[in-house]
Homo-oligomer: 273 residues x 2
């Protein structure tokens, strides 16, 4: 497991990190706060956790934790303050539209102890966007409100921009708009080496090979193996995902796992089943 790096290399090249461990390489982490009653009520299937996780990994940043909180100031403030404090970055999705249930900007400003201002550039963007759409009403102007000191994140889909303040990135909740904002941020955040993953699939009950997995993970420093069982066509199988920041570690671990599975009489498939 990744924590093993900490123990084995702390003395030679350790860099201080969170979670009380010395690590051989700096791991950049992000948290995500998904803000919205519609996720907690079950009305809406969240898609932002996955899309942000995948995007972060490409930036060399690991999604370390997620909280889904209701449209309530105290809940947002609590999540924002703990998550921004212990991660390199905090992303939020949801609650930045023009309606009464969009309270993210006010709640984050409250969390930071700053006021809320109308951002002149956001106001200009919205004026332009709504020039042919009925003009900038008071409700629409709400979307130009930002915590004092914030910068804007371009929204390539609709009028209202995302917002960056400190290490907090305030994004839209509608996944297609979120995606556009992530696109605008691509390559702008400092990160480490992206995680590399390789999947080996096998028609086997994971309980049959649990010992094999445990031993190999113990052998292979810096590598994590996840085991994901499935039930398909009346048969049980599992995909084993080998993850590390170094391709050579992933490849060595994969090779060892494939050989061990073959030796045990199974027929592992590269790329998963």
């Amino acid at each position: 497991m990744l924590r093993h790096i900490a123990l084995s290399t702390a003395l030679c090249e350790g860099v201080w990190l969170g979670y009380g461990a010395f690590m051989a390489e700096r791991i950049w982490t992000a948290a995500l706060a998904v803000i919205g009653d519609e996720i907690l009520s079950g009305r809406t299937q969240d898609k932002n956790v996955q899309q942000i996780a995948v995007w972060l990994n490409a930036q060399g940043i690991r999604l370390a934790e997620v909280r889904i909180v209701p449209d309530r100031t105290d809940a947002i403030v609590e999540a924002v303050n703990i998550l921004r404090g212990r991660n390199d970055y905090l992303f939020t999705t949801g609650g930045i539209g023009p309606t009464h249930d969009d309270i993210t900007v006010d709640a984050i400003a409250a969390a930071l102890g700053v006021g809320v201002i109308v951002h002149p550039e956001a106001r200009a963007m919205l004026e332009l966007h709504y020039a042919t759409r009925g003009g900038l009403t008071e409700a629409r102007l709400r979307m130009a409100r930002v915590p004092d000191g914030a910068e804007l994140i371009a929204n390539r889909m609709s009028g209202a921009p995302g917002i960056r303040i400190g290490n907090i990135f305030i994004l839209a909740g509608v996944p297609a708009i979120t995606a556009g904002m992530l696109d605008a941020l691509t390559g702008t955040l400092e990160g480490g080496a992206p995680m590399v993953a390789r999947t080996i699939g096998c028609w086997v009950a994971e309980s049959e090979v649990a010992d094999i997995l445990r031993e190999i993970e113990r052998d292979q420093d810096g590598v994590a193996i996840g085991s994901y069982p499935f039930f398909r066509e009346g048969r049980v199988g599992a995909n084993f995902v080998i993850r590390a920041t170094r391709q050579s570690n992933v490849d060595a671990c994969t090779e060892q796992l494939v050989q061990a599975l073959r030796k045990a009489g199974y027929d592992p498939a590269d790329g998963g089943i």
Copy 2:
């Protein structure tokens, strides 16, 4: 908004609740801890938040908050202890299989300060299940381990049961198995009145009607209106979801909203768009 009930009826029939408010009716809440690196890495799209939210609502219990945490003891312990303390129920998904990355039982036992035992009934279930599948290996026996004092939750899909200890319900991560365990729990938990919801859809930018929504929500005690914009076929629209525990409140609010939208020149569709 629901909090308005608190203010208007606290003096006549208040019952103490969390979040520092008196409420007219007891609201039962649950939290969910989704445990699994595969969700945080983006490999797997979570489906349990939505299915558990919908199921809870049918039990008269509201999903109040969700945390997604990695397969790491300290992260699980932190989430479990805060969430179980401030909600009526805590559900967890994931990490109860036979492999090295399945650490949920140990982490929850650690959170509760109890030991881990092999549950005799779970052991018997697994012996029966694996009698024709190669026998009960040591790895498989891991799935009979429970925090000391726990009861079992029937698993109608595969061998390993879910686990209940105190107000914590430890469920599988594979959504179909989770569903079976929820089914086994249906009707067994104490709850209040389920939330009732009605949706009104409209081809309108939500910013056009933000004032209407705000005013109606302010008028209608005990009702929450969510506004969910969408972009389809090159047009903007929004669905407005009216939620309350009383059908009569939902209906009165819906009626007021439909009339206000018509008056403003729109054509609201019952059931949403």
